[in-house]
Symmetry: C2
Subunit: 358 residues, 2 copies
Amino acid sequence: MTSKPTSRKKPRASRAVPMVVPTEVIGKTTINDIARLAGVSKKTVSRVLNNSPLVREDTRERVRALMQQRSYEPDPQARGLAFRRSFLVGLVFDNPTAQYIVNMQYGVLDALQGSSFELVVHPCDSRSAGYIDGVRRFVTQQKLFGVILIPRVSEDQALADMLTEIGCRYVRIASIRLDQPGHMLQTQDRLAGVEDAHYLESLGHKQLGLITGPKRYRSAIERGEGFSEGLTRRGIALDPRYVYEGGYTFESGVAGAEHLLSLNPRPTAIFACNDEMAAGVYKAALRMGLSIPGDLSVIGYDDSPLASQLWPSLTTIRLPVRDVGRQATQLLLSEPTQTALISVTPHLVVRDSSQPPR
Amino acid sequence: MTSKPTSRKKPRASRAVPMVVPTEVIGKTTINDIARLAGVSKKTVSRVLNNSPLVREDTRERVRALMQQRSYEPDPQARGLAFRRSFLVGLVFDNPTAQYIVNMQYGVLDALQGSSFELVVHPCDSRSAGYIDGVRRFVTQQKLFGVILIPRVSEDQALADMLTEIGCRYVRIASIRLDQPGHMLQTQDRLAGVEDAHYLESLGHKQLGLITGPKRYRSAIERGEGFSEGLTRRGIALDPRYVYEGGYTFESGVAGAEHLLSLNPRPTAIFACNDEMAAGVYKAALRMGLSIPGDLSVIGYDDSPLASQLWPSLTTIRLPVRDVGRQATQLLLSEPTQTALISVTPHLVVRDSSQPPR
DNA sequence: CTGAAAGCGCTTACAG
DNA sequence: CTGAAAGCGCTTACAG
């Protein structure tokens, strides 16, 4: 990687037969080395590299063996230059929780494992004016192979349009179907909301409170609506006065709980649409002298590290984020032929913050 | 990025003077376009690009103006191929908390802002056998410009040796000075431990407990030793029976607190070497019917999101991680001439989990 | 201070 | 099924 081999350029028979080669393998093996050793043109090596069918089987085998033996790896930079497309996959995100981002990165890397692709990250602020241009620069400058978009940027149609315009592949992870199956992976937040409702109803709760996320997040809407829908199905109407619009923040959870717990009758269970707000509910409840789950059952959403570290531990919803990242990336890398929509359903994780009402 | 311009290759006067050019700027502007428009060779444009002093001032200005006007950006792929080094900075990490990783990424990107560098991530497991080879492959395959190493991988000398061997730049973020100043940024975990001790002593605590991290983390050792040292300076000896070796996990925090709180006399304050363990202390204390901070003061370390979301909110230590990431990256990108060791000291954030003993 | 030639390690377009 | 030539967009080494 540092010094340029001086032996590379020495004159030699231009159409060499396989031959013994000096072992001073300074510098990385290149396509030329393999071609020379195999006694074929580099174009043929290139064909093998790119799995072209236009190679005789025994030629392919010979070249493959040589590549293995020399532990040859094609230079992504050079391929990228010729392909006009790099071997980089971008992850574009706005501001989910840290754990979500990290799990997603692990998932993407799981799918990239063994390939010559690497993961490059691009946080951004979807509320700032120039963010789409920022993503465009990110994509075009490094000629990214494609990008994974996670909520909330995944929900922005203008962003997807821009990517289509510049011919960049993408996969959106979102809670509703807002693109073709080849371009998205759906997380069934709504179904998780339903599951929540059914669970609380089955415990015997009738007086329920809901703290939603901000409406600009589609996921927030889905979670809340799913919850409401689930209750309706079980014959319980969610009183609008028992719905508080939070902001996915701890403080909004505190405020929401203070509001809901001051109502008469007091809710016996609260579903907060993320764990952070659920932690806020803990604070408000404990400060009011209410015990969890004795006086109040609490359910969160995300299964963040926080959930198992609160006391009592928090009943919450878990999305297998890493798995989602892996599948989304596989979709991104696959030939655009797939038709079935990939969808993943988050599920309830019951811990110690929920029980039947008194 | 998608289609190849057909106009590029048309024959023209080889030594062109500045001239009007068809505005059908299909495809990206290249160094050839700029050279032609400026009436200079592409080598001269290249010199301007690389800030070579060997360019006449007016030539430089003319070229610069043209680059701006055409919003020319050199292709990192092509430069990388010629330079034998990409425009990618790698972040190598083992398993810190998600928030730490994400903040670090933000910091690195702060420093990369406006450059043509991008950030590529590489999580790994420093306990697995082949992890150093994994990093080697990561670095050599994409010919990374350099890497940032964060604890715990930053503490591994074998990894640093490997990087030196293959000629890859690196900056290690670590709590003790284990490399040359140009290769590291020190976080003064020890001083934070001292600050902790002084704070608790100043509140009047005399009976103190310590839950350390695992010894294979240098940071854990520094935090614990700093705490002990700080107490000693204030004339308090830390009884070894009041030191529990945790594992930086929630469960070990619970176990540690259960142990410490069963001692007689009971400690009136516990310093847990990360927030996760501090959350474990909460659980153990609350389960034993002890109130925080009434019966027990608790201090954590990291200022993770958890810290402000526990109730009562957790007094802890904050390292400006994003800032650290930014500075480490600036060091990585700078010419290797710097001599002074960069060091950053984490500081105490007082919240509601600490007060004078009863 | 400036440039023509050759090269980085691959692929595309064409020809056979 | 295979290859020679030209090219991707830059830089190095050399010459002036």
